[in-house]
């Protein structure tokens, strides 16, 4: 009995010692290991919150609608199929009216009050510049679906920011290369004097330098200028055979109308605009002066002459129309709206790849996506490539030949 008791005592005391040693270690391990914490968090997770900020009122409202409509449709689809990792997504949408100060205060509200897990937006480059540092400091996975300023994506400075939309620099390279390869001799660079236009000018100049060429003329103007005759005259006086339009839809329309006055429209000159020239405002306002204008467009958002719209994109158009009304494709830029749509799916892909809601793991998972079949384009990310899109995904469409926001493929 005594022996048994001693053995029992030794066992108990040994177990107690081990337990005593293990307990604090367990506590420490529990506190220190993100994996354990994350596992608990994952099992407790009731919802996955995605914050969206965009300009939904004011002059840039069309851009905000792209974000609102694109993300809403994507989240509805994802939730209908069980959410992310079985957790439903809650979408919190805010309007920053294209005001960077408001954008930052809304981002703060989304992070601190709504406890967002990921963020999509905003819709203006200046707003993106205002909120990106804050989002990255707070390790919020950030998908940019529509701001095209090339400098916004910087893997070292903003490690949690990714982009689906083709950026300005890639568009500039694409347009310059195409014009030079087509044998255009005198190419005009047309851009405004805003940060966007100045950036585009630098990008186009770099692309010209890369191609060993010089632009024939550099035409700048102020955003919203009414009399664009001086710009048109500069293009005509230089006898340009190609003009690269880095202009917003309304300004581009004013320039085309001025070129019409000087009788200097296609086929005398080729007009090739970046994606904003595809805004409905350009063709509506330029009228007959828009005939023959080419525009950059994602290849996936185009259709061939006498052929129906691509099935996937046509289904998305229907989803947009069912949800937001029959005229919705006149209120948005379809390709940009589906770029935002893709943002939601890439977040889903990132979370589900590692079955984790941790920002670093989602970031790593998105960086490992090498061929994602998006609705706007095929995306390829990497640790040094947070811009998922590239010029190989671009095509040229005809501005005046469009159906449901998609352009007829020219080349």
């Amino acid at each position: 009995m005594e022996d048994v008791s001693r053995r029992k005592f030794m066992k108990l005391s040994g177990a107690a010692t081990l337990a005593a040693l293990a307990f604090p270690a367990g506590i420490l391990a529990g506190c220190g290991s993100p994996q354990t914490q994350s596992s608990n968090k994952e099992s407790d997770k009731k919802e996955f919150v995605i914050g969206v900020i965009g300009a939904m009122t004011g002059a840039s409202a069309q851009l905000g609608n792209n974000a609102k409509y694109g993300t809403t449709i994507a989240v509805e689809e994802i939730n209908a199929k069980g959410g992310i990792n079985g957790v439903p997504i809650r979408l919190v949408i805010r309007d920053d009216e294209a005001d960077p100060t408001k954008s930052l205060s809304l981002a703060r509200e989304l992070v601190t009050k709504e406890k967002i897990d990921a963020f999509i937006g905003p819709t203006n480059t200046t707003c993106a510049k205002a909120i990106q540092p804050y989002l990255n400091q707070n390790k919020i996975i950030h998908l940019n679906g529509g701001c095209t300023g090339a400098a916004l994506i910087n893997e070292k400075e903003f490690p949690y920011s990714f982009r689906t939309h083709i950026n300005d620099r890639d568009q500039a390279i694409f347009m310059v290369k195409r014009a030079v390869n087509k044998g255009r001799q005198k190419i005009a660079m047309v851009h405004d004097t805003s940060a966007l236009g100045s950036g585009a000018k630098a990008d186009m100049e770099a692309a010209f330098k890369q191609m060993g060429k010089q632009p024939a003329v550099d035409c700048s103007y102020n955003v919203g200028d009414v009399d664009m005759l001086p710009v048109a005259r500069k293009i005509k006086d230089a006898q340009c055979d190609s003009a690269l339009f880095f202009t917003l839809g309304v300004d581009g329309a004013q320039i085309s109308k001025a070129l019409e006055k000087l009788d200097y429209l296609p086929p005398k000159i080729e007009l090739h605009g970046y994606t904003s020239v595809g805004q409905p405002a350009y063709r509506d306002l330029a009228g007959s002066a828009a005939n023959g204008t080419l525009v950059n467009t994602p290849t996936k958002c185009t259709y061939k002459e006498n052929e129906p719209l691509p099935a996937r994109q046509a289904a998305l158009v229907k989803a947009f129309e069912d949800k937001f009304g029959a005229k919705v494709t006149n209120e948005i830029i379809f390709a940009t709206a589906v770029s935002f749509y893709d943002c939601a799916y890439i977040i889903k892909e990132g979370v589900e790849k590692n079955k984790s809601y941790e920002a670093d793991k989602i970031k790593g998972a998105i960086e490992s996506i090498t061929n994602y079949d998006g609705a706007n384009s095929n995306y390829k990310f990497g640790p040094d490539k947070h811009d998922g899109n590239d010029p190989s995904q671009l095509s040229v469409g005809l501005v005046t030949k469009y159906t449901k926001g998609m352009f007829q493929l020219v080349e």
């Binding site: 700048s220 005759l229 006055k261």
Partner: protein, 290 residues
């Protein structure tokens, strides 16, 4: 060069129209209506609704637009100027009130009419015509002719009618006007209504050039103030001359300078003009009292 001159004259006429309306209000109240650009924008919005969207015949649409905008201008007077009484020079409240009203008008327009600019058909069709080797729209000619007619009309009204004399008396002193049996408030109201009518006409004339949108007069409105100052605030001849001068010099300067500096050139012209002749081309020179 001639194409630039034509373009400058059209833009100058638009600045002149804005300056004319600014002058009418200044001549009776001594204030600058900083919401005037936005009233022109509302004129364009109403014209778009009546003529394009509702399909009302042009002339009837024009009359309806003029009446509506005149009412808006009168309401503006009651809300932003009247509360500060007759001695407006003693208060700067009207300045903030008219500036604020402009912002309110822009936001209402965004809410009701949307934010995307819309095309407005030019008067006389969109086919370009060639005159002396210059390609221009018939609308451009209409802009020049109508502006000239409005300037002449105001010149006659102010110089040779009882209303003109009453306006001049009101601009001198509201109290003295009352003693003469003229209701200064009625005169001021009439001037606000007239400025609204000109704003409506300006809105229709500007629309095919700027497109119709809440921001359509953002820059042009400022240049309208510039034209009024160059010509001499309170003088209808000056408004017309100032507008044309600003438009033509701006267009000619653009033949030599990159268009990106257009606004800087326009305001530089304004500063130079003011520094040479502070009272404006047709303004009354300030006299030093010893």
């Amino acid at each position: 060069m001639f194409q630039a001159l034509e373009s400058g004259m059209v833009m100058g006429s638009i600045y002149a129209l804005l300056a004319l309306a600014i002058n009418i209000i200044y001549s009776t109240t001594g204030i600058i209506n900083f919401a005037h650009g936005e009233i022109v924008m509302l004129g364009a919005m109403f014209a778009l609704t009546f003529i394009v969207t509702s399909g009302i015949p042009f002339l009837l649409g024009l009359i309806l637009t003029c009446i509506t905008v005149a009412i808006v201008a009168v309401i503006l007077y009651y809300c932003t100027v009247r509360p500060f009484g007759d001695k407006l020079g003693n208060s700067l409240g009207w300045l903030m009130a008219t500036l604020g009203a402009g912002i309110v008008f822009t936001n209402i327009a965004m809410l009701v009419f949307g934010t995307q600019p819309k095309a407005f058909p030019p008067i006389g069709g969109s086919e370009l015509v060639k005159i002396f080797g210059i390609k221009l729209l018939p609308h451009d000619i209409w802009v020049l002719v109508i502006t000239l007619l409005i300037a002449l009309f105001f010149n006659v009204v102010l110089g040779k009618t009882i209303l003109g004399n009453a306006i001049k008396a009101t601009s001198f002193s509201h109290s003295v006007t009352k003693l003469m049996g003229i209701s200064s408030q009625k005169i001021v109201l009439t001037c606000f209504a007239m400025s609204g009518i000109i704003a409506a006409i300006a809105g229709i004339l500007i629309s095919p050039i700027t497109f119709v949108g809440p921001q359509m007069t953002a820059t042009i409105g400022l240049k309208g103030f510039g034209a009024a100052i160059i010509g001499g605030v309170g003088n209808s001849k000056g408004a017309f001359a100032g507008g044309l001068l600003l438009g033509i010099l701006e267009a000619l300067a653009m033949t030599q300078v990159t268009p990106g500096y257009k606004d800087a050139i326009a305001f530089l012209i304004m500063i130079i003009a003011i520094s040479i002749k502070p009272e404006g081309i047709f303004g009354v020179a300030y006299e030093k009292k010893v």
